[in-house]
């Protein structure tokens, strides 16, 4: 076999593994979210299907799969059907550039544990994450329902406002990493100051905070879930969606959540890096496995954080959300860039 075909097969395997892992992550998240809600709210949560309710997502999936495919009479049929598919597609594609482990040597080949090592990884993620909004806006418009339209419009305004803060908050990290490639950003974080690992969280705490808040807004969760807002807009853009079309939105949302958790880990918490492990002598393959494990653990820590936030806070109002985004987060993000620049000039 020519090297081209081997490379193709390796990439295909990686794609399948990552998509499988993402879908698996979504399934786990459905349980974690619902059992976690039960834990926080002093109740049981779903515990009927399978041991501790772990088969609940499968039961949900079967139910949604067998539901009637229904299209509202006045809906724009093509866009109505295309919107959830587009939303889910974007959510899954975004994950492609996230590195989930270091390079490994296998059968004399160096394999990067990442689907695509793009030198503008950050830009890629932002470009695709912004596209996801089209799924929501188009779905909201095509349903021909006033509530869903309002959900879509709210969502568009929210995304634009928070994307600005989100983008500016990581400029500091990029200045330190001197690269847009996610592997380079992790590479910087694997170094040490005496004993402390050089994770960006220690250098960019403000940037991290802004990124975290804006990320919650990006994935449309409480306190920023204005486009759903069950009690105001019923469920906003999803109101006319049922069966697998609804499931696609659902999958997409959780996939987005996982992507953003992974991004937080990569940008601020050293990605797959395990601190102080370099001193130990471990078989390289085992080390790679441990690093992938560490990455997954870090990602799930943030997923749990998102669950925790969701079941603790009330929801913002539309205008308050806008004010917070433009008048608090944006100036802070700009200040963060300025401060980072000044410090970098003073301490080379």
């Amino acid at each position: 076999m020519s090297p081209f075909w081997i490379d193709l097969i390796i990439i295909l395997i990686k794609v399948i593994v990552v998509i499988g892992a993402l879908l698996g992550g979504v399934v786990v998240m459905v349980v974690v979210e619902r059992r976690g809600a039960g834990f926080i709210q002093e109740r049981l949560g779903p515990n009927r299907v399978g041991p501790w309710g772990w088969l609940q997502p499968i039961a949900d999936g079967i139910k949604l799969f067998f539901k009637e495919e229904f299209v509202p009479a006045q809906a724009h049929k093509l866009l109505y059907l295309a919107a959830p598919a587009f939303f889910m597609f974007i959510a899954f594609v975004t994950f492609a550039v996230i590195p989930f482990g270091d390079k490994i040597e296998l059968f004399g080949r160096t394999i990067q544990l990442q689907i695509a090592d793009v030198n503008i990884g950050i830009l890629y993620i932002f470009a695709f994450a912004s596209l996801g909004i089209y799924g929501i806006v188009i779905g909201g418009w095509a349903s021909n329902n006033k509530f869903s339209l309002m959900g879509g419009v709210r969502s568009a305004a929210q995304m634009i406002s928070y994307e600005v803060a989100l983008g500016l908050s990581i400029i500091g990290v990029l200045m330190i990493g001197q690269s847009l490639r996610l592997n380079d950003i992790i590479g910087v974080q694997t170094q040490y100051w005496s004993y402390l690992p050089r994770w960006n969280i220690f250098i960019q705490p403000l940037g991290f905070l802004i990124f975290l808040i804006a990320a919650i807004a990006e994935v449309n969760r409480i306190p920023f879930d204005l486009c759903e807002a069950e009690q105001e807009l019923v469920v906003g853009y999803q109101v006319e969606y049922g069966s697998m079309k609804f499931a696609m939105y659902y999958l997409g949302e959780y996939a987005n959540l996982i992507t953003f958790s992974a991004l937080i880990v990569v940008l601020f918490f050293g990605g797959w890096h395990i601190p102080w492990i370099e001193g130990l002598t471990i078989h390289p393959l085992l080390l790679a496995l441990l690093q992938v494990g560490a990455f997954v653990v870090k990602v799930f820590a943030f997923l749990w954080f998102f669950v925790w936030v969701r079941w603790t806070f009330p929801r913002f109002r539309y205008d308050q959300l806008m004010r917070f985004g433009w008048l608090v987060l944006l100036p802070l993000a700009i200040f963060n860039i300025l401060a980072t620049g000044v410090v970098m000039v003073l301490i080379p």
Binding site: E42, K146, E232, V234, R315
Partner: protein
């Protein structure tokens, strides 16, 4: 360049907020006219749950109406029952023994706490804080266990009767209530910690649906909504009934009359109700619970089986077209139920059935101010206003 920009034509949007909407908690319809997210005009439509409760009362004896009275406000059925029983007792000119009055006060306050828990919980869930709602429901469940223990049912308790109660409280009642009252305030503190100083919660509620004291009085508002506006009126203090003058409690009042103050007033009322319960349990008098009048209260079973008078009294009260008769006249009697002043206006023509019953339902009168409150606010504020008014559709439409 500026000349080329055409003015964007906008249209007003009319949306149906209800009758089936997650935030209406019952069936009533709000027709909102929107400019973007801002509400220009609101119109309400009620009557979806009209069940003819008042009319039903004309065909039932006085005691039979109790089962209907508790179906009006299904969150505080006992308060309704007791309010109705007090109205008929006023018509008859009788007063129940002190033990009965204390038990009624305890039951009313337990119901008030249960109602406020749901009200605050719903308010929180409408703003998006679902956990608060479930914390509240856990405590409400304990109250409902106590109510079930005493009355035999969780909702629609039908516990009081004209002239007393169906039966005295069972053994172990005092310990259960005391245990609840001792531990309940933890939950109030928990909810306060989650909401009272939460910036999002404060921003969402402060200044929303505000009403001045003068306006509140002229609209006839009562209960926590009136008190949140700063008017210190509580029928339990102003015209005490059921021995409320024996207890030491305060009337919390607000300053701004907005959703936030309504929330604070409800939270403080729960603490005060807890105080009343503790005092009432500590000083619960002994003795009979029913008035000593066989013309009104069913005689005990031993007397029915072993004495001719007992049998005749039983027969006279139970059989069709019998029951006790009230003197001719009209009576209005009001009690302080969780969401305001619940009044019963009864016209008696001297028979065993009322000629006409009219209910002054607090939800109905409190809801009338809704269109005025929401005007100029945003659509997200509608949910805060509806849930802080605590409209119960069963009572609204009767």
């Amino acid at each position: 360049m500026a000349d080329e920009v055409k003015e964007i034509l906008t249209e007003r949007m009319v949306i149906n907020f209800g009758p089936s909407h997650p935030a209406t908690h019952g069936v009533f319809r709000n027709i909102l006219e929107l400019d973007g997210e801002r509400i220009l005009d609101a119109e309400v439509e009620i009557g979806f749950l009209h069940s003819g409760f008042e009319k039903l009362g004309e065909h039932r004896t006085y005691n039979q109406f109790i089962t209907i009275a508790d179906r009006m406000n299904y969150l505080s059925p006992l308060s309704n029952d007791i309010g109705y029983a007090l109205a008929v007792e006023k018509l008859l000119g009788i007063e129940v023994p002190p033990r009965c009055q204390y038990i009624r006060a305890i039951m009313c306050e337990l119901n008030r706490i249960a109602d406020h828990l749901v009200s605050v919980g719903m308010h929180a869930v409408d703003i998006g804080a679902m956990t608060v709602f479930l914390y509240a429901y856990k405590q409400r469940e304990i109250i409902y266990d106590i109510l079930e223990f005493v009355t035999g049912s969780r909702m629609n308790n039908s516990y009081p009767r004209v002239g007393g109660l169906v039966s005295d409280v069972p053994e172990g009642f005092e310990e259960k209530v005391k245990d609840f009252a001792d531990h309940f305030l933890h939950t109030v503190d928990d909810i306060e910690r989650l909401l009272t100083r939460n910036r999002i919660w404060v921003d969402r509620n402060k200044g929303i649906g505000a009403i001045t004291p003068e306006e509140a009085i002229s609209w006839g508002l009562t209960g926590p909504i009136l008190r949140a506006a700063g008017v210190e009126r509580d029928i339990r203090k102003a015209e005490p009934y059921s021995s409320y003058d024996h207890f030491d409690f305060e009337i919390p009042v607000g300053v701004r009359g907005d959703s936030y103050d309504r929330y604070l007033v409800r939270m403080e009322e729960m603490r005060q109700s807890n105080r009343i319960i503790q005092q009432a349990i500590a000083n619960l008098p002994g003795g009979e619970v029913n008035v000593d009048d066989p013309k009104i209260i069913l005689p005990p079973k031993e007397r029915v089986y072993h004495s001719i008078e007992g049998l005749i009294h039983h027969f006279k009260l139970i059989m069709e077209e019998h029951g006790f008769q009230t003197p001719k006249g009209e009576i209005y009697s009001a009690t302080e139920v969780p969401n305001g002043e619940l009044g019963f206006f009864i016209i008696s023509d001297g028979t065993n059935k009322p000629y006409r019953i009219h209910v002054r339902a607090p939800s109905f009168i409190n809801y009338s101010v809704f269109p005025q409150l929401v005007k100029g606010h945003m659509i997200s504020d509608v949910v805060a206003i509806i849930s802080s008014l605590n409209i119960i559709a069963g009572e609204l439409d009767r």
